[in-house]
Symmetry: C2
Subunit: 143 residues, 2 copies
Amino acid sequence: MLEVALEEARAGLAEGGIPIGAALFAADGTVLGRGHNRRVQDGDPSAHGETAAFRDAGRQRDYRDTIMVTTLSPCWFCSGLVRQFGIGAVVVGESRTFTGGHDWLAEHGVRVTILDDPRCVNLMEEFIAARPELWNEDIGVAE
Amino acid sequence: MLEVALEEARAGLAEGGIPIGAALFAADGTVLGRGHNRRVQDGDPSAHGETAAFRDAGRQRDYRDTIMVTTLSPCWFCSGLVRQFGIGAVVVGESRTFTGGHDWLAEHGVRVTILDDPRCVNLMEEFIAARPELWNEDIGVAE
């Protein structure tokens, strides 16, 4: 499932954007929605990978059996999304370059898996080194 | 400032949507962005009042002096938004009909004001009574 999120992250990078991707899966592995960070592309600060995937999935009546797969540990905004809508599980590509609220989610009953995937780590390390100001903007770190 | 959020909530209701509105203000009272829940109108489950207002404000480099005004206590998704981006203050129209993460925000240094405005309470009480299934969908309460 991480491959879909990685494809999204790479698509975002190719568009000149922030390389974070995500996808929301049904329990049977069907992709319900997928997306990537679109801050640069759309000028939309609310379009994180996870929120883009959630939006792409449209209206759903029950998220308990769904799985959010993301290339990077979800920030507080995206962690709040998971908690509010009762998404049952989160799979995180890596949490070395950034750690958001995944421990908090686990405390609240979400099944959290951290993959520590070197491709995800590499994407973010290169991006953060190249565009530190853009990265800080995306996670709300002021000057 | 609540008037702007209330106008948004009422506009959402008039469109057949969920009557929750919000606006993001600069410290001097300038409206940076405003919006309302658009789940029904756009089929977009990520468009809560606060996320719509945040999105409408576009890219900002520093949220510390901004104020998020919302007709209803922010859910975990919207509370996560406030925390991640370091929005300095939240003004809540009411938290009688729903309470999200505003206490958690206060614990993390956000200045939270609860107005307990009867117009906001009335809007939500009437909406919840009329469309309980839609309301539950919007806050991720499964059947």
